[in-house]
Amino acid sequence: AQTVTQSQPEMSVQEAETVTLSCTYDTSESDYYLFWYKQPPSRQMILVIRQEAYKQQNATENRFSVNFQKAAKSFSLKISDSQLGDAAMYFCAYRDPTGTASKLTFGTGTRLQVTL
């Protein structure tokens, strides 16, 4: 079974600074998808960024980028120019395309605090 590990329960960053959230996963598949989701207090899971494993280029979405290391099974999220609105729980997730469509396996999350 696939597992997703987030080893940082909490992280803190100053406004306008950069922070990196870590994620590792375990799979025997060669083709899969990885995601970072943001969960604010409203509880709604919001997609931040996604990465297809067959793509070597790291995904980027505005201030959000990933460092995808397939051999190391590592998928970290970098948030640049942090804003107060970035404060939330962040979950790393894995999707196995050979299983149930869109069935996700989540990590335990990292709580990000943004300070002035």
């Binding site: 997703v4 998808y33 409203s42 509880r43 709604q44 899971m45 919001i46 997609l47 996604r50 979950f91 997730a93 999707r95 395309p97 149930t100 469509a101 869109s102 069935k103 996700l104 396996t105 989540f106 990590g107 335990t108 999350g109």
Partner: protein, 115 residues
């Protein structure tokens, strides 16, 4: 509506009571998922529907949990004889199609507290 709607937002049940949680997916979305999120944890998959067909229920923790989507739109997650360990946020998500490129849209969840 514009997004996935879940009701009620909060539910308190006494141990042993039955509860029903509702999910209104985005109109036209074929796929619907239920996830359970315990306090301090990530969401865990419960079950998946493609239209009205329940194609995967491998995540349902016990036979007290039952989900349905009879007309392929609104879905209900029912928990019978609730136990304290059922306390969690129940998230519903929908997507246009069951393909890898179809993004999931989540609702705000129902927080169930069993006392």
């Amino acid at each position: 509506g514009a997004g996935v709607s879940q009701s009620p937002r909060y539910k308190v049940a006494k141990r042993g009571q039955d509860v029903a949680l509702r999910c209104d997916p985005i109109s036209g979305h074929v796929s619907l998922f239920w996830y359970q999120q315990a306090l301090g944890q990530g969401p865990e998959f419960l079950t998946y529907f493609q239209n009205e067909a329940q194609l995967d229920k491998s995540g349902l923790p016990s036979d007290r949990f039952f989900a349905e989507r009879p007309e392929g739109s609104v879905s209900t997650l029912k928990i019978q004889r609730t136990q304290q360990e059922d306390s969690a946020v129940y998230l519903c998500a929908s997507s246009l199609a069951g393909t890898d490129n179809s993004p999931l849209h989540f609702g705000n969840g129902t927080r169930l507290t069993v006392t």
